[in-house]
Point group: C2
C-alpha cells in the first residue's frame, strides 16, 4: 500500500480541474477573474476549464457567476448508495433521531478522514453547520475515535502521520499517547464520548458498526448541547440506544 504524497505521473489538468471546482465551492460561486486570482492561474485558462466543465454539465453559469453543478450529486449519491451501510442504516438513524430528539449522524472513514453519510435531526436538535458530505478529522469527534478504536494500531499511526492531530477546541486530544489510551478505553467500554472536543458546548456519544465483529464499517453518533448530555443519559441510556440500533444494522450487513 504505497503512500506517496504525489502520483508518479500526475495529470496536471485533472488536478487543476478539481482545484477550480473546489475554489467554486470555497468561494460559494465566483466569476472567472475571481477564480483566476484565487488560484494564480491565467484568466484564459480558467475560462477554458469552466467552459468545458459547463458543457460537461459539472458547473452551472448564472449570469457571470459559475457554480458547482448538481451533476456532482449524481456521482456522490452513487458513491454513497454503493456503501450498503448507508441503505441499511438510514432507517435506524431516523428512528434514533425521533426517539432522542437530538442530532444523529452516520459516518464512515475514507482516506483517513471521516465523512458524513447522513444526518437526521430530532425535534430538539441543535443547529450545526456540519452536514452530509463533510469531511472531519477522526480524532476530533466521538464517531471518529470509535472508528479508530477498532482499527489496527499501525493503521491509526499512518492516519496520524498523514493528517496530524490538529486541535479544534481546548479539549481536542492532540497527543499521540493520550489518543491511544483513549482508544483503548473506548475499545473496552464499547462506545466513545466527545467531551466538547469538536465544538465548544457540544457533546456526543458514538458506537462503531462492525462487520462480523471484526472490521469497522463506520459509526453512529448522537450529539447535543452539553447541558442535556451528561450523567446517566450520556453514559448509559444513549449508548445503549445506539448499541441496539447498531445491532440491527450489523445483523443486516453480515447477511447480505
Amino acid at each position: 500500500m504505497s503512500q506517496a504524497k504525489e502520483a508518479k505521473h500526475p495529470i496536471k489538468s485533472s488536478r487543476t480541474t478539481f482545484r477550480i471546482v473546489e475554489a467554486l465551492k470555497e468561494l460559494d460561486g465566483a466569476g472567472i477573474t475571481e477564480v483566476a486570482n484565487h488560484l494564480n492561474l491565467s484568466k484564459s485558462s480558467v475560462h477554458n476549464y469552466l467552459d468545458t466543465l459547463r458543457h460537461e454539465g459539472y458547473v452551472m453559469k448564472h449570469g457571470q457567476q459559475y457554480h458547482v453543478g448538481l451533476k456532482f450529486l449524481e456521482l456522490g449519491a452513487y458513491a454513497r448508495r454503493r456503501r450498503k451501510l448507508f441503505e441499511i442504516s438510514k432507517p435506524e438513524v431516523e428512528r434514533l433521531a425521533d426517539e432522542t430528539g437530538e442530532v444523529v449522524n452516520l459516518l464512515v472513514e475514507e482516506q483517513g478522514k471521516g465523512i458524513y453519510l447522513c444526518r437526521e435531526k430530532g425535534t430538539k436538535a441543535v443547529k450545526l453547520d456540519t452536514s452530509t458530505g463533510m469531511f472531519v478529522h477522526l480524532h476530533q469527534t466521538a464517531f471518529g475515535k470509535a472508528i479508530m478504536a477498532y482499527m489496527d494500531r499501525e493503521q491509526v499511526e499512518s492516519i496520524i502521520d498523514r493528517h496530524g492531530l490538529p486541535a479544534r477546541t481546548d479539549n481536542t486530544i492532540t497527543d499521540r499517547k493520550e489518543l491511544f489510551e483513549e482508544l483503548n478505553r473506548i475499545h473496552e467500554q464499547g462506545y466513545a464520548l466527545d467531551m466538547e472536543e469538536y465544538l465548544d458546548g457540544l457533546q456526543g456519544v458514538a458506537v462503531p458498526i462492525l462487520n462480523n465483529g471484526t472490521t469497522v464499517e463506520g459509526a453512529i453518533s448522537i450529539a447535543g448541547p452539553s447541558c442535556r448530555m451528561r450523567g446517566e443519559r450520556l453514559e448509559e441510556t444513549l449508548p445503549r440506544k445506539i448499541q441496539n440500533a447498531v445491532n440491527v444494522i450489523e445483523l443486516n450487513i453480515t447477511h447480505s
Copy 2:
C-alpha cells in the same frame, strides 16, 4: 445564451477525467484495463488518471478495483445545499411521505433535465431503482411535465431540441404537439399526472413549486402502483395534499 455543443477550447484531459469517473460508475467499479477498453484509451493513460484521482481523493482503490470516491458527495451535497429549495422542502417532503405512505420526490431542472434532490419513502412505498442525484428526461415524468408547463415556450423548445423526446414506455409522450397540449392542460389544472409514462405500472401526481408565482423552482411528486393511484385519490386528494405542502414551501422561498 450560447448553446454550442462544444466548448471553444475544450480541455481534453478535463473531459477524459470525468469520462473515466463516469465509466467507474457505469461499471460499478473496475480495473485499469477494463476502463481502458471501455473508453478506448491506453492502459498507461488510464493508470495515470486513476492514480492522480486517487491521490486527490476522488477515487478509491480496493485491491485492484477502482471506485468512485465519497469526495464527490462533498461537492454534490454542497451543490444541493446551495439550493435553498432543498433545505426548505425536505421537511415537507418527509411529512407527505408519512401521510400518504407512498414515494415522494423533490426534483429540480438543471441543463434541461430533471434531477432528484431527495426522495422519501412512506410505509407502503414501492421499490424504485431511481434515487437522489439521478437525471431524468423531463417529458417522461409528472414532475418534469409540471416544471415545463411553467416555462417559456421557447425554453421548452430548446430543451426538446437538446435532448429530444425519447420514449421509455408505450405511454411516454413523444410528439411535440401532443406534449404542448399536455403542458397547457397541466398549466390550467395546476398539477401534472404521470400515467405510466415513465415506468409500466407506476403512476404519479406532481405539483410545481413557483417563486413569486412566476418562475418554476422545481416540483414535488407522489408516485405509486397504478392500482392505488386512481379516481378521486389521484385527481383530488393527492394533488391537494401536495398543493398544501407546496404552498408552505413557496411562502418560505419568497421570504428568504
